[in-house]
């Protein structure tokens, strides 16, 4: 019973986990392509382009949600800036896609249309190398990573916590959005990048390209989940949750929370960047509204709806929220905000552990044998509480959702 903290990958995931990974991979990489390409449109099992792009998009969101959960659910740090990292990844890769348009834009120029139109004579320095796929991919990880690192370094060093951290990440995102809105910034103003044509020379609308992008999204999500699992099972994960629960205590036993937070924060941002890079070619547009405050809040909501402090929860959360949004906006265009709003309210009220918590509850009920242990895991609020400042309450609040 004495399972030491270990990074053994295989053990970390367990046989069930690996089975799930294998099945997902099989579905995504074999069955979906077959159903999309081989079956006629009229066939009931045909997977439409619409479905593939929609699911592909949601997969990218799911990666972001998991990344958010790593920092929030496990680290107790609520970032309202993940939309920024996502968008930065998207923009980095979008630059490449813009360059791939070549001379097929409206103005038949080597420069992207918006630059021609603004009388730019040459690419600004930060577009250097944007025609190289690998460089773009590198940027998609590096730009969010570096920005997150710098921001995180100063913020964590100053011990900015809780709501303060959330609010300044919000400020950061908001500032970035305004900055990207400007035409002079060199990223297409509020229209951003769109009208992509090719990726690595392949038409972006070709079914094969879409399938590859879809497959990559699945791969990224699986990779993120496995990485997350490994991290959380390691001692690092325990230190992280310990920081979430009692940071000063962690300091007194000799850990420097700065490095732990910074590591997970930067990693989380880089994962968002990758997700953004995959998202852009699939939806065909990237613009500053991805950095809006509401978007970042929504990312947090995906994690919460799914279940914080679990890895699979955010995946469900992202899927449930986005699919229901897609469905509601078609079926009840006038009322969908009510449904969505109520969904958020009800989940927080009745499913503090998210849908995964609900599921766990249900299965637990079935397996009554484990009842005692299971109940012990959800302690009643320790009675007289004395954490006065809301700031101090934040990690405690986050902790409630955690059942690592």
């Amino acid at each position: 019973m004495r399972t030491p903290a270990t990074v053994k990958l295989v053990a970390g995931l367990g046989p069930k986990g690996w089975l799930a990974v294998a099945i997902t991979a099989l579905v995504a990489w074999v069955l979906v392509p077959l159903a999309h390409l081989m079956l006629p449109e009229s066939h009931p099992l045909h997977v439409s382009t619409f479905a593939i792009t929609l699911i592909g998009k949601i997969l990218c969101y799911a990666v972001v949600a998991v990344a958010m959960d790593l920092i929030w659910g496990y680290g107790g740090i609520l970032s309202l800036g993940h939309g920024l990292f996502f968008a930065l990844g998207g923009y980095s890769f979008g630059m490449y896609l813009m360059r791939q348009i070549g001379r097929e834009g409206s103005y038949q120029s080597d420069l992207p249309d918006f630059m021609v139109f603004l009388d730019w004579k040459e690419l600004p320095w930060y577009w250097t190398g944007s025609d190289h796929f690998l460089w773009a991919l590198f940027l998609a990880v590096a730009v969010p990573g570096v920005i997150a690192w710098i921001f995180g370094y100063f913020a964590f060093r100053s011990r900015i916590k809780g709501v303060y951290f959330s609010i300044i990440t919000q400020a950061l995102t908001y500032a970035a959005m305004l900055f990207f809105f400007r035409n002079e910034t060199g990223f297409g103003g509020n229209n951003g990048f769109t009208d992509f044509k090719r990726i690595l020379g392949y038409s972006i609308t070709a079914p094969e390209t879409r399938l590859v992008l879809f497959g990559l999204s699945v791969a990224l999500l699986l990779g993120t989940l496995i990485l997350g699992r490994v991290l959380i099972a390691s001692k690092f994960g325990k230190v992280l949750t310990a920081i979430r629960d009692a940071e000063s205590r962690v300091m007194f036993i000799g850990y420097n929370p700065l490095h732990y937070k910074l590591f997970i924060w930067t990693l989380s941002a880089m994962l968002c960047g990758l997700a953004g890079a995959l998202y852009v070619p699939q939806v065909g547009i990237i613009n500053p509204s991805e950095m809006s405050v509401a978007n970042s809040i929504e990312i947090a909501i995906w994690a919460a709806v799914g279940g914080r402090g679990t890895l699979i929860g955010p995946v469900f959360g992202a899927a449930i929220v986005n699919l229901s949004k897609s469905w509601f906006t078609t079926s009840f265009p006038e009322y969908w905000l009510f449904f969505l709003g109520l969904l958020f309210i009800l989940v927080t009220l009745y499913l503090p552990q998210g849908v995964v918590g609900l599921w766990a509850k249900l299965t637990r009920r079935e397996a009554k044998a484990a009842a005692a242990a299971a109940k012990a895991e959800t302690p009643a609020a320790p009675a007289p509480r004395s954490t006065p400042t809301p700031a101090a309450e934040l990690p405690a609040g986050a902790a409630k959702g955690a059942s690592a």
């Binding site: 242990a373 012990a376 009675a383 006065p388």
Partner: protein, 230 residues
């Protein structure tokens, strides 16, 4: 004054209080002893309504309060000194004491005897409760509970962190309060000598059950000290 009958309490799956029945008589000090984790604090929280009783009943002066909200129990005359002080950290000492008078009319004053008992509170009226030292906070917590003049005073390890001279003061004060005959006192204590010297009655708890009870004088003969140390 307080009558507890067949009280049961659970935390999740574990049975913390098992069929407790006892009384706390008026004008007497009843001490509750027991090792760490036997459920003393849980019992007091149940009495205060901080955790709901699973089964059983609690009555104060003949009135059933099993389902009453905490603040109604306080209105009914209970004063509570919790384990861990639980003062309001960002209120001043003065405001903390006024909070003790929450059930009294707005114009009520903090009784002078509280400052006699704990002079440090008078000196630190304007300091915020959270800035006080541990022992000072404990004194504040006791003062706060005494301020409205409760008929049942519940104290959870009140001597924790308090300097010896003040413990002696507290001891004298509790004695005096009981002797007025207008207050029943339920004292949870680990400090045997203190408990012994105050107890009119004692209750000894072990894993959620009362395994021994009697008058204070019986404590030594009943080997309470030994039972506490097993």
């Amino acid at each position: 004054m307080l009558t507890v009958t067949n009280l049961n309490q659970y935390y999740g799956g574990s049975h913390i209080l098992r069929d407790l029945s006892f009384e706390v008589p008026m004008g007497k000090v009843t001490t509750l002893l027991g090792r760490n984790g036997v459920g003393k604090t849980t019992l007091l929280k149940t009495l205060m309504g901080l955790v709901p009783a699973a089964t059983g009943s609690i009555a104060l002066a003949g009135q059933d309060i099993t389902k009453a909200a905490s603040y109604n129990r306080v209105r009914a005359g209970i004063g509570y000194v919790p384990q861990g002080r639980e003062i309001f950290p960002r209120l001043t000492v003065e405001e903390n004491l006024q909070m003790g008078l929450a059930t009294r009319p707005a114009s009520s004053q903090v009784p002078a005897r509280i400052f006699e008992m704990f002079p440090v509170l008078k000196q630190m009226m304007k300091r915020r409760g959270g800035d006080l030292s541990g022992g000072q906070q404990q004194q504040l917590a006791i003062g706060r509970a005494l301020a409205p003049g409760p008929t049942l005073l519940i104290l959870d390890e009140p001597t924790e962190g308090i300097q010896p001279s003040i413990i002696k003061d507290i001891e004298r004060a509790i004695r005096a309060l009981a002797e007025t005959g207008e207050m029943a006192i339920l004292l949870v204590e680990q400090y045997y000598d203190f408990a012994r010297s105050l107890a009119d009655h004692y209750l000894l708890m072990e894993r959620g059950e009362i395994i021994s009870r009697g008058t204070g004088a019986d404590m030594d003969t009943n080997n309470v000290r030994e039972m506490l140390s097993v």
